[in-house]
Point group: C2
Chain length 353, copies 2
Amino acid sequence: MRARCEALGVVLRPHLKTAKSIDVARIAADGGQGPVTVSTLAEAEYFAAAGWRDILYSTAIAPAKLARADRIQRDHGARLLFVVDDKEAAATIGKEAASLGARFGVLIEIDCGEHRSGVEPASAELVAIADAIGACAPHLDLMGVMAHAGHSYAFDDPAPIAALAEVERFAAVSSAELLRARGYPCPIVSVGSTPTALFAEHLSGVTEVRAGIYLFWDLSQLSRGICAEEDLAVSVLATVIGHQRRGPSLILDAGALALSKDIGANRFMPDAGYGLVCDAVTLKPLGSLAVSTVHQEHGNVPIPDESWFARLPIGSLVRILPNHACLTCAAYASYDVLRGGTVTEQWPRIGGW
Amino acid sequence: MRARCEALGVVLRPHLKTAKSIDVARIAADGGQGPVTVSTLAEAEYFAAAGWRDILYSTAIAPAKLARADRIQRDHGARLLFVVDDKEAAATIGKEAASLGARFGVLIEIDCGEHRSGVEPASAELVAIADAIGACAPHLDLMGVMAHAGHSYAFDDPAPIAALAEVERFAAVSSAELLRARGYPCPIVSVGSTPTALFAEHLSGVTEVRAGIYLFWDLSQLSRGICAEEDLAVSVLATVIGHQRRGPSLILDAGALALSKDIGANRFMPDAGYGLVCDAVTLKPLGSLAVSTVHQEHGNVPIPDESWFARLPIGSLVRILPNHACLTCAAYASYDVLRGGTVTEQWPRIGGW
């Protein structure tokens, strides 16, 4: 992704919401501490304390969270960037920042079609928000715009993803142009999702790209043709704890809490279940075995015939490739790092909010 | 549930997999420390360290976990009970227990129709497992049988649930009778799920009931008519962070990680989404607002009209009644205890494995 962004002429601002790990963030920045994206103030605090300085908190900020955000800036000398998509929210945040004697950077979020959040590109509403932010100087600095083409996950074909990448790019760039015409310099034009970053034909006018899942990959990405199976970096180690003859199926000690109940891959890979079952050592898929049912701590893996009972006796280890790594990883306090089949390190991660 | 079990003439062995909290476990036992059920060794350790002595680990045990289980027994003077549903697994576990110089109680798991795990009631296979356990004396003590009618969640009507309670009861009792005829006393005949415990007509021959979700309730239970709305004990505090005019919808800072992606309630309550949106103070539902879409940290709540924007301005607090409390609570390290609208205590909980 670093090479890709370099080729596109944009800065990479990796989204750390999946990994939530200092060690992974260092790899993402080739050992450095460049700009990053986070999804919680807990992450912002964690990365700021570890030396990161340029942190985009990419969920719209609630006014009551500003005091903590201000402490993160003051305690660690970091600079937080917020996103705003409402002019009244901008005014409220500006007022709160003023009462704290704080100063924050702000991006205006542009809705490029997903309709999750954000304002219409290059709209009157956008200008009104910019003016509301401008009126809060010096406590808010309008730094630019951001767009996120989350609807790129509706496709498993590079052509429509490339088309959406252009929609995302144009939404952000045209919005920035409108704001510049009104006198706001907008040094940051931020776009991103892993698929659009990879399939965009060009990113002219964009200054930075946000992407996160590329750090790990998962079945959701694999199912959409965004990565290859051998790219998947995280797996869940599980033990066969039972042989169910009525089925027949293997029972694993990895259920809903260990894997999550996300089935985002299944739109394009209907048999992915809650994860694909792999050899614990080689990480090669075992036939097409998948965890098809989960209870809190049980995972059931249907098998074509009982010969699998001999192949995977009770007590055997397997590894599960997760359906959606962001949610699966959230169940764990750390990563066991495998090098050549051996756990050589444990990397902590930051959970909670 | 205590009163109900007393009326049924059985011991209550609360399942702590939902609450994972010492404070909640104390309430369940009316201040005491009776028998409990857990779903992870982390829970077993946690409750043993806090003084609980009779702990059923109700997921089939993997042989590699016995060393840790043995330490829990030795360090805290607790007695762990395992479940087994395979004769080879019984032999492997017995061998491992012998090599540790350990002694564990064992229940044989009976499949009363859910086909998740367990052996056929009163079957030759059951007897073979009992003999395999018996051959491991004194390292394994066959203490009896357990059955779990998890398929009771397929209904929202007391009549079929009562019928399944009888299936569950009969599966366990007939299996215990067969084992007694073979010379195994089987002092424990354990059944349970919250719905079957509540709707069983009688539990003749049963010695104990396992139930857990009754400690909190959730929309999955409410949707099946097992509890009333005012019974729900846990909620997720969230903030309105955006007003999406294309929709229209409210955007909350509670998404897939804060709520989980479980939609178990939706079979009988299709509009439950990922949780119902309530007033933050009164906990009364706000119209029929529900979180219909979740991203990692965003929850979208469709609204019938934009008048809701004035009613719930950005920065407003709401409370979400979770779809499935077991999964939602797993995202948090502690509970904030509300008394009269004020957080008076924080109760820790034990996550992980």
